[in-house]
Symmetry: C2
Subunit: 332 residues, 2 copies
């Protein structure tokens, strides 16, 4: 009996020590919320910022209603070599040519099929609009969504051989989850099409359609074949790139994001990142650098504008090579 009692006392002492040290809470805190990130200044700056803005009574506390986080998509949340919507456009052109083989010899379709970027760069605006109309317009929203779904189910990345939806960045998905767990509302602001990205954003990133901002074509609500439908017109409405991003963000969100992430490629995220530094209060800017030729791709900007803006603005630059333990995470 004495042995039993001593055992119980020892157990109680252990419990007391655990409780005094924070016990189960300390264990929870030691669980790494960003396991795919290597220790280093990038990861630490994210953790520090979130701790700072969520500390009630602290000087930088931000109420939940104002915890808005906005992420670029291509090259920030998933790979962009090739641009997935570009691959979709090529697939749509192939479908059209299968139905009407005469298109094979006409521009700009010929250039698309042959991957002839030089000719496409020289295409007239009328030709590019024809391409947009043929691949993204003159159908209903519901039909367009079906086309995108079919494409995502069947297409494979030309080099990596897997569906594009397997090529989301695992460290960024962890970051989205981490931010949401701390009361952030997570948004996408993409240069790509708003209706394209909405098809997969919820499943891949946990971001619902109403939190996706992007480029758009003009839509009309009108009667066709006895039904009132949303019809996609062959005209560009909003281009959500460069200076268009803060504008799209304001139209959809109506308040300044406090956490914004983009990537180095063509300077497309500079304006969005900068726009968060114009107001009072804390804000965090994250810029991903694609420097990982072994696990993904290594590419830079010709003019180096994004990295220069990051230096000037004191943004956190993420090196995919050294800051990320893993790159791709597959579909959840």
């Amino acid at each position: 009996m004495v042995g039993l009692r001593q055992g119980w006392i020892r157990h109680a002492k252990v419990l007391a020590v655990m409780l005094m040290a924070g016990g189960p809470l300390a264990v929870l805190a030691r669980t790494d919320p960003l396991p795919s990130w290597n220790e280093g200044p990038a990861k630490q700056s994210i953790l520090d910022f979130v701790a700072r803005v969520t500390k009630e009574g602290g000087p930088d506390f931000v109420p939940v209603a104002d915890r808005i986080a906005v992420f670029d998509n291509d090259g920030t949340l998933w790979q962009e070599k090739p641009l997935v919507q570009g691959a979709f456009l090529v697939a749509r052109v192939r479908e059209l040519v299968a139905k009407d083989p005469s298109l094979r010899h006409q521009q700009p379709y010929k250039a698309v099929l042959e991957g002839d970027a030089a000719t496409l760069m020289e295409a007239s605006e009328a030709e590019l609009m024809e391409l947009l109309a043929a691949t993204h317009s003159n159908l209903t929203q519901a039909q367009f969504v079906d086309e995108v779904r079919d494409f995502l189910r069947t297409a494979r990345h030309p080099k990596l051989g897997v569906p594009y939806t397997q090529l989301g960045y695992q460290p960024m998905r962890e970051l989205l989850t981490f931010l949401r767990a701390h009361g952030f509302q997570t948004w996408i602001s993409t240069g790509g099409g708003i209706d394209f990205v909405r098809v997969f954003a919820e499943q891949l990133y946990g971001i619902p359609p109403q939190q996706v901002i992007g480029s758009s074509v003009v839509e009309k609500f009108e009667r066709r074949d006895g039904q009132e439908v949303l019809w996609r017109e062959p005209r560009v409405d909003h281009v959500n790139d460069k200076e268009g991003k803060p504008v799209g963000n304001d139209l959809h969100i109506g308040k300044r994001p406090i956490f914004v992430a983009g990537n180095v490629r063509n300077g497309g995220d500079i304006a969005m990142l900068r726009s968060t530094q114009q107001g009072p209060g804390p804000a965090f800017q994250l810029l991903i650098n694609h420097d990982d030729a072994a696990r993904e791709f290594a590419y830079a900007e010709k003019d180096g504008a994004s990295l220069r803006a990051a230096r000037e603005g004191g943004w956190t630059v993420v090196s995919m090579r050294s800051d990320w333990k893993t790159v791709f995470g597959g579909m959840p």
Copy 2:
């Protein structure tokens, strides 16, 4: 002792009966979630619909992610005689005339100051654009928000003598709260300016800026006086009225609302209400009829289009006079 024991038994029996009848839950259910609504078919159809789409395992169950409710603002959530943004425009013109008295004798300013609707109806597009530019544009978003805030603080309804923010409809505010308590995300889709309504929607209706859809002017993100700002251009971007409403809703929400409310005035909500009846699954349409000259205003449409559409579509028509116990609820 026997008495005590019998008392306890009686108490236990009462408790048992209460529990069998649903107990505390039944008490909760008896708390009226819409106390400003009179009993009747309108109130009952709302309660029935919400019960139907939230009943797990039921044939019409709708998951929380798809419970999107969209409300028109003017005449649906607050009074629209006069249109509050119209009163704002007049106030802005008065400010401009105070700074530059020569404007007093120029059109379209003269017509605005004199309440000369006939002349305004005849104004050229260039004159109307000048009016928009002068009152709503050529300033930053932040400056515009300040102007709206100042106006709402100081302006009074010409007939009712109180701030416009005291003129939200109490029954509709209860409806918003009731829907949110059942997992709905509540939105505004207004013919008015998106940036105008965002200024007061959160305080008055509990609807945050990112859940407001409306008409907009073109914005630019550009450098002015050494700061990068969102600048309001003197050009209309989107008109969120009539067939523009389903388009605006799709752009901002990206999925079909299942609960939509508008009002009788100029047919502005017909397309939005109809658009919810195009898809599969349950959807609810509510149309408010302003027939209460004693407590608010009584007005009808010249062509009767909204009420005709309601009959054809089987929508729930709300009579302010007979369905509402109270009309105005003040600022929360």
